[in-house]
Amino acid sequence: MTPLIETRNLNVRFGGVHATRDVNFTLAEAELRCVIGPNGAGKSTFFKLLTGQVKPTSGQILFRGKDISNMQPHEPGRLGIGIKTQVPSLFNGLSVWENVWLSARRINSTTQANRITGETLERVGMEAHRKTLAGLLSHGMRQWVEIGVVIAADPPLILLDEPAAGMSDAEVDRTAELILEINRQHALVVVEHDMNFIRMIAKKVTVLHQGAVIKEDTPDRIMSDPMIQQIYLGKKPH
């Protein structure tokens, strides 16, 4: 069966920096995968490659078998790749409703977009703040609104870059529930540092280090792997 997204020997160089090294990554339809790695491992660059914000130096990105390596920046979004960025990226001068509505409206009529926006805001728990300007929201709320913006377009693949960053314990629990609920209909790739959060949501974890994939396994095996502990958690193997 054709994977939802596949990268083949993906490389990116920024001058002398080799940010992504021969990354081979495969994700099936409706799969949930967590990607971990220390700072500078190339996780965000990997997401930028998948969403057309950065062009690969070499290698291929295939979305349902179609090569999207050299697409225009807006085309991956049209194909159905949605992303929640590391720092919430919203239209600060527009209301929460308008932020989500713009996402839904691209592929739907006004009536449908209105309905989807209402449903999405309830889903992410932001219905009460529909009229608030996005720029006035707290960090946690901005994260949820951005998740709402992404799911309102109903993309088959959703990329979440540190969705629980800066959240309280209660907010982290709620975000984990939300992600598992979204995963019933969408494939997800989640970049996260919080290992407890990863345990809550992941069945399979990919470890990036210095731009390369070094291991793919279950969360428990990854966390008990001495090499991973050494390079990711900064612990020496016993």
Binding site: H74, G77, S89, F91, N92, L94, W101, A153
Partner: protein, 373 residues
């Protein structure tokens, strides 16, 4: 107030004021003053064109005067050759729009940054200024219309009623036409920004990266707003050529380009009324300064720009809106506090024993009256 500014109530209010001015001013003004009103309205259309692409589209164009001048020259050349002004009027909108679309395509699809946008638009305006300035002499003509170089084109035939070449518009008619164009432009742009296209145009200004990630091609929306801005500026240029029956290369000048930006900064970005207020206020001030010899008008305009950038960066209209909002909130808070402090009216205590049947409203009232007595 922000919500009020975006509401249809504010649009209706602005239109009502505009219509009142349109029909009221000719009754109280002499012909000379009315013509002053016409030129204010023409320049207000030009100001609105920049207010739209900059305030809503986030495109700082230093060359709005280029589209204004092109509209003016297109009308002049076409009407001299054609006689009837109907087609020249349309060409005066279409040619600047086409020019803006070509220029915009090169800028937006070439993914040039905002800095280059300013440099290129300003350079194009100055190129046109120098080009038209160099067309003195009888060999420089298009059809029967001599371009006239730095002397410009005098004696431009005024707009006529469609298909009736002999029936030219009077100064009063031109005032009505100009005010109608201003109001239609305002209403059209208000409708546009309320539509999906308008919301995306604003979203591109807010966060271009996010709009791309949502799958919208930001370049197309920028190109659309830039082209529409060019068309509106062209319309203003056409009306300008009619106002004085004359056009010259000075309308492509650096001073003209800078003045439009000052109108928008002073009036306020992000509104359509702001550029109109800024334009009328600055135009009036420039005219007043022109009647005396103490101050140079450019010096005063420069000082006004500096003062506004430093002290009133939002501009007159948005700042006024904030002040009114503050007053409104104060009054609302005061009224709520007074209500809270006001003692509740003392009502006689009515004790009901458990009735076998629910008392009717009439019974309840009679009980209250008896007890009160």
């Amino acid at each position: 107030m922000n919500r009020f500014a975006q509401s249809w109530v504010s649009a209706a209010l602005v239109l009502a004021i505009g219509i009142a001015l349109m029909f009221g001013l000719p009754g109280v003004m002499d012909e000379y003053t009315l013509m002053q009103g016409t030129i204010y309205a023409i320049m207000a259309i030009l100001g609105v064109s920049l207010g739209f692409i900059w305030g809503f589209g986030g495109i700082l164009c230093f060359g709005q005067a280029a589209f204004f001048g092109l509209g003016s020259y297109t009308y002049a050349v076409a009407v001299v050759n054609m006689g009837d002004s109907t087609v020249p009027f349309m060409l005066a909108i279409a040619v600047p729009a086409l020019f803006a679309s070509i220029l915009g395509y090169l800028i937006f699809f070439g993914r040039l940054s905002d800095v280059y946008m300013g440099v290129i638009t300003l350079t194009v305006t100055l190129i046109l200024f120098n080009l038209i300035n160099s067309t003195a002499g009888p060999e420089w003509k298009i059809g029967n219309a001599p371009l006239g170089g730095f002397n410009g084109i005098p004696g431009i035939p005024t707009l006529n009623f469609p298909g009736q070449v002999d029936k030219a518009l009077s100064p009063g008619d031109l005032f009505y036409l100009t005010m109608s164009c201003l109001l239609v432009t305002y209403l059209g742009l208000r409708c546009l920004i309320s539509s999906k296209i308008g919301r995306v145009i604003i979203a591109v200004k807010e966060n271009e990266q996010r709009i791309l990630l949502l799958g919208y091609d930001a370049r197309l929306y920028k190109l659309f707003s830039f082209t529409l801005g060019g068309a509106i500026a062209g319309l203003a240029g056409c009306l300008f050529a009619n106002w004085g029956a004359f056009t010259s290369p000075t309308i492509f000048s650096l001073a003209q380009s800078a003045q439009i930006i000052i109108w928008v900064i002073v009036g306020g970005l992000g509104t359509f009324v702001g550029p109109v207020v800024g334009c009328v206020a600055i135009q009036w001030l420039t005219t007043q300064i022109g009647t005396q010899q103490t101050f140079n008008s450019n010096l005063v305009l420069g000082a006004i720009l500096v003062v506004f950038v430093l002290l009133v960066p939002r501009g007159v209209v948005p700042s006024l809106g904030l002040v009114l909002e503050w007053i409104w909130n104060k009054l609302k808070t005061k009224a709520m506090a007074e209500n809270a402090a006001c003692p509740q009216p003392l009502l006689p205590e009515v004790k009901f024993t458990a009735p076998s049947q629910t008392p009717s409203t009439a019974n309840a009232i009679s009980i209250t009256k008896e007890q009160a007595a």
